[in-house]
């Protein structure tokens, strides 16, 4: 059994097929550094070019930290005549093994590679595993799956990774499952074309109960998301905090969502821009930028979406889907400082939507200082579709609507049988000016709904 494995120095190495390096039943420390690795292989027989297996027989649950450093390597696949599939790094731990492991997969350059299943495949790790995937670059990598796949870990950090100039992406670029904490910082996807289905994702995070997700700097540029989801989170999280999201020149397939929050106690989203985010084909519809999937009131804290700009885009902005649990305190969900400008919707029906969600709990939704300017629904549509039936009204305040064409604020108590609450909306200190209704109402109140309007101005609504 090896105690340490080190492969270093910039000499060219070729792993022609099967495992390039197999580390089985040990060692404690593995380092692959500053190495050029050219390869081809088949997944069915060869799991990874670098492959590490651990079992409890050789690694007792002691306090030794197992480290794996794969850094500063150059990976390429100049020749792949049979288009075999492969994984660059693969590791598998016995699920009963609890020694702490730290994986550092950093500063690796992947370039000109065909059918890369995953750059990093941690098929089964433990709750003590900490994974750092930082400063890696993937260019012209035709991927069936993606950059990283990990099942079970304590913490997964993705930082300064870049995906660029690639086509034929399928499956999940990052699939991180059964994890306590995920941190995504400064990750860029540029010039990438996705070909996966609606059950596949760019980022798929399946969090453990009470887990935390932090995103700071997520950039999608000049890419086609297609049917694949963008950032899709499942599980009952404690906190989900996102800052600095930038979607520029992005195409989206029909019925898609770019960000799906999963269930959470606390959600904060700051500083997002959606510029020229369009449908993939002229007939696409029902696309959403952010789906707030489930607000868990059990341990809920105040939530906020603040400072977002949506410009020259055709897909809907925000969908509130459901509320669950019992609130122990008043919860406020604020949507502040949002600017919608120069948006032209052909098929999209709703810009902001509250689905039929019912709750007798003390939660308030407040839209504050939102600006809608030059927004057109070619086939008519809803600025707001409001079907919630909750204790407190949805509040729209200190906002301005100008140069809006064929857009309606539509209220409807969707569950007509509900005897608890009607759909309620409060509009306060809002200006509506230069509105072309195209012979539909600017505000439409239906099915027992209640609207209160105060201190507001309506001018030039025709």
């Amino acid at each position: 059994m090896l105690n340490n494995l080190t492969i270093e120095n910039p000499q060219e190495r070729i792993a022609p097929f099967r495992e390039g390096f197999l580390i089985h039943d040990g060692s404690e420390t593995v380092t692959v550094n500053n190495t050029i690795i050219k390869f081809w292989g088949s997944l069915s027989e060869d799991k990874g070019q670098i492959e590490k297996h651990l079992s409890p027989n050789c690694n007792p649950s002691d306090d030794v930290v197992q480290t794996v450093d794969i850094t500063h390597n150059y990976w390429t696949m100049p020749y792949n005549p049979t288009q075999d599939r492969f994984v660059t790094f693969y590791t598998e731990f016995d699920q009963d093994y609890y020694r702490r492991m730290i994986v550092n997969y950093s500063y690796n350059l992947h370039e000109n590679i065909l059918d890369n299943i995953y750059g990093l495949n941690l098929a089964y790790c433990t709750q003590n595993t900490e994974i750092w995937m930082t400063n890696n670059q993937f260019y012209n990598v035709s991927c069936l799956q993606g950059a990283a796949y990990a099942v079970v870990s304590d913490k997964f950090i993705i930082e300064n990774d870049l995906y660029a100039d690639s086509t034929d992406f399928g499956f999940d670029t990052y699939a991180i499952m059964d994890t306590n904490e995920v941190i995504i910082k400064n990750v860029t996807t540029r010039n990438v074309n996705a070909t996966g289905s609606s059950s596949e994702y760019y980022f798929y995070l399946r969090m453990n109960n009470g887990g935390n997700v932090t995103v700071d700097g997520l950039y999608f540029e000049n890419s086609n998301v297609g049917q694949q989801r963008g950032l899709f989170v499942q599980g009952n999280m404690n906190t989900f905090i996102m800052t600095n999201l930038n979607f520029l020149n992005v195409l989206v397939g029909t019925g898609n969502t770019l960000i799906n929050t999963g269930a959470f106690n606390k959600l904060e989203i700051y500083n997002t821009t959606f510029t020229n985010v369009q449908n993939e084909t002229p007939n696409d519809e029902n696309n959403i930028m952010i789906t707030v999937n489930k607000i868990n009131l059990g341990n809920a804290q105040n939530c906020i979406i603040k400072n977002a700009t949506i410009e020259n885009s055709e897909i809907g902005f925000l969908l509130f889907s459901s509320i669950t649990g019992t609130a122990s305190q008043t919860v406020t969900f604020s949507i502040e400082d949002i600017n919608y400008q120069n948006c032209y919707f052909v098929n999209q029906k709703n810009l902001i939507e509250f689905k039929q969600m019912e709750s007798q709990q003390d939660i308030s939704f407040v839209f504050d200082n939102n600006m809608f300017n030059n927004v057109t629904f070619v086939k008519r549509g809803n600025l707001f579709l409001l079907q919630h039936q909750i204790l407190n009204p949805v509040v729209l305040q200190n906002s301005k609507f100008t140069e809006v064409t064929s857009g309606t604020i539509y209220l409807e108590s969707a569950n007509k049988q509900s005897s608890n609450f009607s759909t309620r909306v409060m509009i306060s200190n809002v200006t509506f000016a230069s509105i072309d209704t195209n012979f539909v109402s600017l505000i439409s109140v239906n099915e027992g709904s209640i609207i209160e309007i105060e201190d507001s101005t309506f001018s030039g609504v025709t």
Partner: protein, 115 residues
């Protein structure tokens, strides 16, 4: 502009201003189907509809205006309101209503040709 429709909906307006709005029927409001629109302390001026310069109520829809000002609105028919088929009682209390005009289609043609 605001449609209070099917059915039994409630609209409450306070301290708001409605100016230069136009519609075919009900320059500002249309209410029907046992719905109600209640207006408090608001101002309506220079609104226009072909029928009912401010509000049209039908099919048991009704309205209540309190402490509001309605002036210089116009329509081809009914410069302020029309009520059809209403079982419920509409009310106007402590309001100033003046200088609202019924205009003819000829007047409208002249106005349109000027613009």
């Amino acid at each position: 502009m605001l449609f209070a429709g099917y059915q039994r909906t409630t609209t409450i307006i306070r301290n708001s201003i409605f100016t230069n709005n136009t519609s075919l029927q009900g320059g500002v409001f249309t209410v029907e189907s046992e719905s109600v629109i209640r207006v408090y302390g608001s101002t309506f001026t220079s609104n226009f509809a072909v029928i009912s310069g401010i509000i049209q109520a039908s099919n048991n829809g009704y309205f209540e205006f309190y402490n509001s000002t309605i002036y210089n609105n116009y329509a081809v028919s009914s410069s302020v309101s029309q009520i059809f088929d209403a079982a419920s009682t509409s009310q106007v209390q402590n309001c100033s209503i003046y200088s609202n005009e019924v205009v003819s289609s000829t007047d409208l043609n002249i106005e349109i040709s000027r613009t």
